[in-house]
């Protein structure tokens, strides 16, 4: 691990399970993710990667186990409370505010962390600092030429970039990204990875990714999830050399 484990892990998952009806989808997953770590989760389709994200971020309740964010238990909390404690996520299927402008999408993503809460008395057009921050993000994501367009009219790659921007806007310390480069061309993927590297600097990043090049480029630690269980977790070299991983997953993808 490149980052020394100093004290409590940023994210700690202990023996979580999840069943939908009779079928067990997550069958006892434990993981410790250190602060500042870039952590990739890989695994075949249907392994339960997205489900894991859904459990961590509070979208679904877990069936058993415990989840801690910076040492505080979060597994019984609703998504918005978990988010306020410093965890933010993106979705495998792009999730933005389709009918609102690109600028408005980003400004909304900033609101809570800037203390506006449910205010119905502060006129947004007078919030200089907030608006400047949203404009800055817009530039940073290279979306300033699209400022006033409804977000639903952006190209696919632009929508993905916008969602990444919205995910990091609130200043969360732990970022979960679910296949941020899926469906992108090579140049788009390179651009997206640059962006992700830039905007998640100094944060803990957990990313589900299918593109092995991206994974081995970026990750400090790789976890391999197969059929709801972790079959290997460690630095890229060890995972790559792991025979179980070779057999179950990687062998088919990288020779």
């Amino acid at each position: 691990m490149s980052i020394p484990a100093s004290g409590t892990p940023a994210l700690s998952i202990r023996e979580i399970t999840k069943s939908f009806g009779q079928t067990a989808i997550i069958r006892g997953v434990s993981l410790d993710i250190a602060a500042g770590e870039r952590h990739a989760i890989i695994g075949p389709n249907g392994a339960g990667k997205t489900t894991c994200f859904n459990l961590i971020s509070g979208r679904f309740p877990i069936s058993s186990g415990e989840i801690y964010l910076n040492g505080e238990r979060i597994d019984q909390l609703p998504p918005h409370k978990i988010n306020r404690m410093g965890l933010s996520r993106s979705f495998q299927i792009t999730s933005i505010f389709q009918r609102m402008s690109v600028f408005e999408n980003l400004r909304c993503a900033l609101l809570w962390s800037r203390g506006y809460r449910y205010s119905f008395w502060s006129p947004l057009w007078m919030q200089r600092e907030l608006n400047a921050q949203a404009e800055f993000l817009l530039e940073d994501l290279n979306l300033h030429t699209r400022r006033d367009l409804p977000a639903g009219l952006l190209s696919y790659a632009e929508q993905r970039a916008l969602e990444i921007g919205m995910t990091i806007a609130g200043g969360a310390s732990v970022i979960l990204l679910d296949e941020p480069t899926a469906g992108m061309s090579n140049t788009e993927t390179d651009y997206a990875m640059d962006l992700i590297r830039r905007v998640t600097k100094g944060k803990t990043l957990v990313m589900v990714e299918h593109d092995m090049k991206v994974v081995f480029d970026l990750a400090d630690v790789i976890t391999v999830l197969v059929y709801g269980q972790v079959i290997a977790s460690g630095p890229p070299e060890t995972v790559r050399a792991n025979p179980a991983v070779q057999e179950a997953y990687l062998g088919a993808l990288v020779e």
Binding site: P79, R99, L111
Partner: protein, 431 residues
Amino acid sequence: MNGAFGKSWLWIAAVAFALLLPWCFYDFHTARHSGFMLSMLSQMGMMIILALSYNMLLGQAGLFSLCHATFFGIGGYATVHFLNAAGDGDLPLPMEIIPLLGGFSGLGLAIIFGYMATKQRATAFAMITLGIGELMATAALMFHHFFGGEGGVSTNRMIDHSLFGLTYASGVQVYYLILAWTLIATLAMFFLTKTPLGRMANATRDNFERAQFMGYDPRVVRFLQFSLSGLFAGIGGALYAITYEIVTFDALAGPLSANALLMAYIGGTTVFGGPVLGAVLITLLQSGVSLMSNSWLVYVGVLFISMVIFAPSGIAGLIMGHKPILRAGKLGQLVVPYIRVLVPGLLLVLGFVGLVELTSFLTIGAAQGKTLVLGGNKIDVHATMPWLVSAIALFGGGAWLRIEARHFRRVWDGLMADLKSADGKAERVLA
């Protein structure tokens, strides 16, 4: 910030128009305002507030409420009691402030009911609000002390306490009071759309999960938006009570909730001012057409259905659709195509109205002993000719309209494509 009040000239013009309007119908011989006009204009004011506050839910928060009249009605009933108390000298408040009390009554009830309804969203929310509406309608008939049963409760607005020394004996004074409050409420609702809550209401409408993962509890957003919309509906109800000096069951029952929905939808839910257009149009239909025809509700219904099918973004949405063409200075190219759809369109409408009126005079009209008069000539509803002419106009106009509509579509799509490619060029030049 630029754009916050971008269309302010339009609003200022509308207000100036509303200020002058009563004087356009002033009879200098009798030195009196037209009572009919004043009462219609006053009604427009409260309907504008009702429709706009309904759109805080439907258009801005994506909440399909079926009990909006509940909060309008409670504002009305409460105001009757406030006025009575003020008249008795128990409530030392000037008339100009009383609508705010009606608003607070709406707010109070919306907080209670909103707490239940906004636990849910989408269909479940709609069902709960339907239940609330029914509950309140039943309560209105049960609790005589407050609601006065079938007959309603009445009051006298001349409480002899005004900030400006007005008596409110005349309709025109009441009209200006209503105009002032309509303006205040409209500005306040517009302001709300520019606040964090207003924006997050849009956000939870588009995608409530995303809002959750940005720290917002969509339930709280819904609850606050619902409560505030109840506040404004209550103000509308208070104006109702002041105008008519009586509030009955109609002010809170289902049909008025449906009306709020109709006005907001027909006017257009995607633009802030849309419901204003809807409220004006429906009130005109209600006061104007209802004098001429028994079947005005049929027309409103058909208008609503047509809007849902052909123009789901309402009148305002239709107008806004022309903005890019106007900006490109190409609106002129639409004049001829518009005339070409207008002619068969008119024919279709006339044919339809003809059939509806003939039917109505054959049934209800006959029972009331009325006869159908058109341009001074009596029309025999039992003869074949009028029926035949109407049917031909309806079906012929319809078939013709289909052809013209296709032509219109082609012209429109051509214009849009032109604009797009022009945009693309401009962008390439910039880049």
